[in-house]
Subunit: 220 residues, 2 copies
């Protein structure tokens, strides 16, 4: 059933450790140590590390160990540039696809959840719902490769987003943006979906980069 190989376990364990900060950004870790920690041999750890390298989460450097890649403000700008274009394209394509409201239910639900979370001042719940919104939006775009790239880019900024979550201004503008994007998609207004989401992402990027630079984070 649960065809969970050791490589899968290593992958998800390492991802968790990276996102939780248990493996700090910039820190190095030997294959042997990680293998011992995870209770398996070097082989699956090594393979997992290679996959994480392909996803830009670590650098595998001969004899220096597996390094957790820190994310600078410039990295953030680069990543958001990519996210902005690709997610906006997905929004436009979703609008063109002519989904009925039933097919947009998940998207609507995540927006409602965000509103509720904002009301309740529950930022963690808000962030989760925000995640769902963006994932669903990209799924509706109907381009699997695009979805994969976006997922990888989002993973790269996950730590930074989590760290800055409580420093940000209340994301009420964000919520109205999501509403607008939703309406544009429902109305099959491709151009508006694109434009609105594009602006939404640019604003998010600006805010995050300013936060990072203001707080002098070397690498998150």
């Amino acid at each position: 059933m649960g065809a969970m190989s050791n490589v899968d376990r290593a992958l998800s364990a390492l991802r968790d450790m990276i996102f939780s900060g248990q493996l700090a950004p910039g820190s190095d870790h030997l294959e042997t140590e990680l293998a011992a920690q995870l209770g398996m041999s070097r082989t699956p750890v090594r393979e997992a590390a290679l996959m994480l390298q392909a996803q830009g989460l670590v650098d595998v450097r001969p004899r220096r160990g597996i390094r957790v890649r820190p994310v600078s403000a410039q990295d953030m700008r680069d990543i958001y540039d990519i996210l902005t274009e690709l997610e906006s394209l997905a929004a436009a394509r979703a609008a063109e696809a002519g989904y009925c409201s039933a097919e947009l239910a998940t998207l609507a639900k995540s927006i409602a959840d965000m509103d509720a979370a904002l009301e309740a001042d529950d930022l963690r719940a808000w962030a989760q719902a925000d995640d769902r919104f963006h994932r669903e939006l990209v799924r509706l775009g109907g381009n699997a490769r695009l979805a994969m790239i976006v997922a990888v880019m989002r993973d790269q900024v996950r730590r930074a987003r989590a760290t800055t979550l409580f420093m940000r201004p209340k994301p009420s503008k964000s919520n109205t943006d999501h509403h607008t994007v939703y309406q544009a998609i429902a109305a099959q207004d491709s151009a508006r979906a694109h434009a609105t989401h594009h602006a939404h992402r640019r604003a998010a990027c600006k805010m995050l980069v300013e936060l990072l630079e203001k707080h002098q984070f070397h690498g998150l």
Copy 2:
């Protein structure tokens, strides 16, 4: 010096075999066989296969072997959608960067090479120069991640492009497009660089997809 590991050798050998069609799209290949062919053990072949999977060139499927991923017309559309957005963004960013003409020399050279190749009716040379143009354009965009994604996407359509190279109409429009993009970048006209390149890519996509569908390629 030449720090060539077996993994590196396997990677480049497999890439060559995939691009040349020696490993046909859709075909399966056992780790053991490839290892024997490349004169090494399974380990480096396996690691190389995992990397190629991350780059979307193969699927590694337990007990069915390493499958060379075929590219359908729909894949082509998806890939070109991504390429169109990201390369156009790169063009815009390159224009904003304010490069001097010396810094744009490589770009200019590749355009000149394309013109010369077209004049000489040397399509292979034209394709090579076209490759250089797009690679350099993306490099000038200054976003390393974007460059990497674009490279991966281009690799995925490489075979299909090579196969259809001699079926295409003479790419003279393509050359004038490149000129226009170059001029926009040199003039630091970000919007025009973006718009021109965007249109250029959309046209290329349309032409390729029509070719693929007309000739009923199942997967290239």
